[in-house]
């Protein structure tokens, strides 16, 4: 098409060039000929007319003169000459006037003429109706011819110019126009190509947009979200397909009018949506509102309706647009979160957060109404042992059952919650008599007391209760909690299974214990104030010290030496006992290694291991790491475990731990045998190396034969099982001799030495070996505090 157009343009161009050239010739000819010809005609006509006029005028003048001077007028040449030239200066005009008589003779003449070409005009001189002469006026036409010639020359030039102007300029314009058309054509071709490319890109973008629209629709489906819009004044809204799908309505049947859409909202949802959109209209902000809607199948779902104003190009509000997102799952999760936030997932009771809010409400209510309320804090007795012995699962089961038992004795007005661990709380919102509080506390204690059957066994626990009255015992939540906690502490101190009301003065004793617990923690963390005493164990067969029991001592920076009977329970109640056990194990091992490195004979060190270390820590790993770090031969480390830690725990797990420890090569001793839940089965089933007989069986053997028999039986039993027998608490040489008689292997007691510092303890060992103290300087174990004066006090 472009090529045919180019051919057409070329042919038209040639035709136009011919036409233009012909037109230029015609115009040039007209200009070159018509102009001088016209000028000549006009000028000649003017000159002739002028000469005629002058001739007639002069002829009239001459006629008048002759009429006045008829006699011999032919001889009046001078005056006639004057007469015919009175109207102009012929000399200056280069004109000659002549009076020619009838016989052709010049009567008079005026003016001289010097020209190559002249023109003569004649006028008759008529006197008395008779032409008596002719007046000839001869004027030069050289100038006229020159002007005509000049005009012709100019015209020729103009014609030439016209020719070129009419030929060149149009052709130039034509060529320029055709050039412009060519460039325009090229531009059109380029633009066409560009448009083609743009069209292709648009198609690609359209495809991309379609894909992204699909992706957006997919994303909306994934996000359970759809968009909507509404133009002010319109009867209907617009819903995206996803909105229909979310809400379960058929686009073909459901008319999205404003009324039908509002009817979808449940409760005050429609009102809140309208209020939100009014706010959006007023502030221009983006707002959302959570509402419930009825789906097409009648089910209810939660959605969040997000709205913002829709504006035109001028920024005027023309409607709304926004999204609808199904947040049912989120709502369910929020409700669950709320439950998690305010309820104990194990027992289903309210948790501490809700407790504090409820307690605050009770406090406020009592302050406002003058009513009296009570806060009962419960702590299960011996729950820790159950947890440690039977495991967390059993503990959780116990907590669940305890929660059930307590909930049975409280009524609906009471607020029961689990604060954490084995702590519970009851808020008695109102009481009239303090007896009601006592009655409730007693009922709760009774409900929890006794055996509780668990999947893995039976648990015998109880509960202690501390009571703080609202508002007498506290004007705020923290005071009430602290005072009820003090009362609980008192109840536990008084023997457990009791309840105690808060009394003024409770706080000081409890605060002292709390301060000790805090300072003990700091002492462990800073490794300051804690040190180890060693009590020798004497081998009765060789009369040599073959081991030491490491016993912890604590010197408080303010209170001085704190007896183990005071700080060990504090440590056990706060799980600090695990850290303390690990600490003394490391200290004792280092000391033993130091002695060994100093050339001393191999002597074992014994450390006590708490149940918490068995159940709550990886003691096997801890022991292995310590032995590895220090390099102490494992058999020189003896771990002493009590029977009590077996009471509430499964034997299998305990055995598993002991076997693992045994595999490390350490020595295992059963401590305080016979004082608690002694089970002869342990002796045969568990891999103990040593049996430590409590002082209870040693004390009085010199006087009581039954005691001696019992001791002898125990020793014989142990020896029969291949265990090394260690008797504790021997204070008299006689007792030692009896033990020796019964075949006891080792004795540990005041009869030989009290627990003392490492140096003093070693001195005792040397003494048994006949060495003089001070002969050699032995290094203490690094990090071990050695008091200047040994504290010879036994472990509680």
């Amino acid at each position: 098409m472009i090529e045919s157009l180019q051919k057409k343009i070329s042919s038209d161009r040639a035709l136009l060039r011919k036409m233009v050239q012909s037109s230029a010739i015609v115009v040039a000819a007209l200009v070159a000929l018509a102009l001088p010809l016209g000028y000549a005609l006009i000028t000649y006509h003017y000159e002739v007319a002028d000469a005629q006029q002058k001739a007639r005028l002069s002829a009239t003048q001459v006629a008048r003169y002759i009429f006045q001077h008829p006699n011999l007028w032919q001889f009046h040449s001078e005056r006639l000459a004057e007469t015919i030239g009175t109207n102009d200066s012929d000399a200056t005009r280069n004109i000659q006037r002549r009076i020619v008589s009838a016989n052709g003779k010049i009567v008079s003449a005026r003016g001289a003429i010097s020209a190559r070409f002249t023109m003569v005009q004649r006028a008759p001189i008529v006197v008395g109706n008779e032409v008596i002469a002719q007046l000839e006026l001869e004027v030069p036409v050289d100038l006229l011819l020159q002007r005509i010639g000049f005009t012709a020359l100019i015209s020729a030039c103009l014609g030439l110019l016209a020719y070129f102007a009419f030929r060149i300029l149009p052709l130039y314009a034509l060529d320029k126009t055709l050039g412009d058309i060519g460039r325009l054509q090229s531009s059109i071709v380029r633009q066409n190509d560009e448009l083609t490319n743009q069209n292709r890109r648009l198609l690609e973008q359209e495809e991309t947009l379609r894909q992204r629209s699909d992706q957006l629709a997919g994303a909306q489906r994934l996000g359970k979200m759809g968009d909507w819009s509404y133009r002010l004044g319109d009867a209907e809204l617009w819903w995206s397909p996803e909105v229909y799908r979310l809400l379960g309505y058929d686009p073909a049947r459901f008319n999205v009018s404003r009324e039908t859409v509002m009817s979808v909202y449940i409760g005050d949802g429609a009102r809140r949506v309208i209020e939100t959109q009014s706010d959006v209209m007023r502030t221009g902000s983006v707002r959302d509102v959570d509402v419930k809607v009825r789906r097409g199948d009648g089910s209810i779902c939660d959605v969040v309706v997000t709205s913002q104003v829709m504006t035109d190009d001028a920024g005027r509000t023309i409607g709304f647009l926004g999204t609808i997102q199904d947040i049912t799952a989120r709502k369910v999760a929020e409700e669950q979160l709320e439950k998690l936030a305010y309820y104990d997932p194990l027992t289903g009771l309210a948790n501490r957060a809700l407790f504090q809010r409820e307690l605050n409400d009770s406090l406020t209510r009592c302050g406002r109404t003058g009513a009296q309320a009570a806060l009962l804090l419960l702590d299960l007795d011996r729950f820790k042992e159950v947890n440690d012995s039977l495991g967390h699962a059993a503990g959780d089961e116990l907590l669940t059952k305890v929660s059930y038992l307590i909930s049975r004795v409280v009524d609906s007005s009471h607020f029961l919650c689990r604060l954490g661990g084995d702590e519970f709380a009851i808020i008695m919102p109102e009481y009239r008599d303090i007896a009601e509080v006592r009655e409730l506390a007693g009922a709760v204690i009774a409900a929890v007391a006794g055996s509780i059957l668990l999947d893995r066994g039976e648990a015998n626990i109880g509960t202690s209760i501390g009571i703080a009255l609202i508002p007498q015992h506290g004007s705020n939540v923290s005071d009430l909690q602290r005072n009820a906690d003090l009362a609980l502490y008192r109840a536990k101190e008084e023997g457990r299974g009791r309840f105690s009301f808060f009394e003024t003065g409770m706080s000081e004793a409890v605060q002292h214990k709390i301060a000790l617990a805090r300072d003990l923690r700091r002492a462990v963390d800073d490794n300051s104030g804690l040190f180890v005493h060693y009590q020798p164990q004497v081998d009765l067969a060789t009369d040599r010290v073959t081991g030491f029991e490491a016993l912890m001592r604590w010197t408080h920076p303010a209170f001085g030496n704190v007896p183990p009977s005071e700080f060990i329970p504090i440590a056990e109640s706060s799980q600090l006992i695990c850290d303390l056990g690990l600490w003394i194990m490391r200290e004792a091992a280092q000391q033993a290694k130091a002695w060994l490195d100093a050339g001393e004979p191999a002597r074992a060190v014994s450390v006590n291991v708490s149940a918490a270390q068995i159940w709550n820590t990886d003691i096997t790993a801890d022991v292995a790491r310590i032995l590895d770090e220090i390099g102490l031969p494992p058999h020189l480390l003896c771990l002493e475990l009590t029977e009590s830690m077996l009471a509430d725990h499964t034997e299998a797990r305990f055995r598993k731990v002991l076997v693992a420890l045994k595999e490390l090569g350490v020595t295992l001793a059963l401590d305080d045998f016979g004082t608690d839940y002694s089970s002869l089965g342990y002796l045969t089933q568990l891999p103990f190396d040593k049996l430590k007989i409590d002082r209870l069986f040693v004390d009085g053997i010199t006087e009581a034969a039954r005691a001696r028999k019992l001791l002898e039986g125990i020793i014989a039993l142990g020896r029969g099982l291949g265990m090394t027998i260690v008797a504790e608490g021997a204070e008299k040489p006689e007792e030692v001799e009896i033990l020796r008689t019964f075949g006891c292997d080792m004795v540990q007691g005041y009869v030989f030495a009290r627990p003392t510092g490492a140096t003093a303890a070693l001195a005792v060992a040397w003494k048994f070996e006949g060495k003089e103290p001070g002969l050699r300087e032995l290094p203490p174990a690094s990090g071990t505090s050695l008091p200047g004066t040994p504290q010879l006090s036994a472990v509680a």
Binding site: Y65, Q68, H69, N71, L72, Q74, F75, H76, S77, E78, R79, A81, E82, T83, T86
Partner: protein, 275 residues
């Protein structure tokens, strides 16, 4: 102007009618036809009357308006018997003619102003040439021109210094009248207030014109002043004849030389000159 022309026409008609009556009365009398300068036309007529009284058989016919040049040409052509010219023969004239001075008349400046006063001869040129020239009483001077070839024009240029340029300048002024004949000149001068023109005493005196002499250098152009030389400006009057002299002409020439003829000349403002 129209009136003047009518007067001239009447004069011509009356003169012609008188000549016709004379010829009719005496158709056998010998006729001498003459013409020439207009300033002596009336003098010629009076000479003719005087001559005819003496010689009744000869009548003098004066053709008016020929002028000096026309008269010479007419003599050459045989149209008239002799001519009275105000100029001598020139190169362009028929060399067969003969001219001789027969009289001399004062040539002066005349004006219609009643008291034109005096003018120095050196100021004459300015008097003609200046457009702002005024008479003694402050009235403007209005010159009258003559044809360039007229004998009086030639005479004026010859008599007064720098007048040729002034006249040529004057001719550029279209409002200035040009009188073709001496009679036209006198008539226009009479009719034009404050006029100034050149004129002979013979014409002014014989035609009784209402004009007044302008004294030149304090001297009036009287015959006496011309004769005694006090007034230097005069115009020679020539008698031009052809070789075809007739007895009547000869008698007339003789009459001019006679005391009677000279008397007539003197009485008409001309000093006779012996041929």
């Amino acid at each position: 102007m129209i009136k003047s022309r009518m007067q001239n026409a009447c004069i011509v008609i009356v003169t012609g009618f008188a000549l016709w009556l004379a010829s009719a009365e005496d158709s056998n009398a010998e006729l001498l036809r003459t013409g020439g300068t207009g300033s002596t036309v009336e003098t010629l007529r009076r000479l003719g009357v005087a001559f005819t009284k003496i010689e009744p058989g000869t009548r003098i016919e004066v053709v008016a308006g020929l002028g000096s040049s026309g008269g010479i040409a007419a003599v050459a052509a045989g149209a008239i018997d002799f001519s009275i010219s105000g100029r001598p023969l020139g190169a362009a004239d028929d060399q067969a003619l003969k001219a001789s001075v027969i009289a001399r008349t004062p040539f002066g400046l005349a004006s219609s102003h009643p008291n034109p006063g005096d003018v120095r001869s050196v100021d004459v040129a300015d008097l003609f040439g200046s457009a702002t020239a005024v008479w003694a009483d402050g009235k403007p001077v209005r010159p009258v021109l003559r044809p360039k070839s007229d004998s009086d024009s030639l005479l004026l240029v010859r008599l007064f210094p720098k007048l040729a340029a002034s006249l040529e300048k004057l001719r550029q002024r279209a409002e200035v009248p040009v009188a073709a004949t001496d009679q036209d000149n006198a008539t226009v001068a009479e009719q034009l207030a404050g006029s100034l023109t050149g004129m002979t005493l013979a014409q002014l005196q014989t035609e009784n014109r209402q004009l007044h002499w302008v004294s030149v250098d304090g001297v009036m152009p009287t015959l006496q002043n011309l004769e005694n030389g006090a007034y230097p400006h005069g115009k020679d009057i020539y008698l031009v004849v052809s070789s075809r002299a007739t007895p009547a002409l000869d008698r007339f020439r003789a009459f001019l030389g006679s005391s009677e003829g000279q008397k007539v000349l003197r009485e008409n403002g001309s000093l006779p000159v012996q041929p």
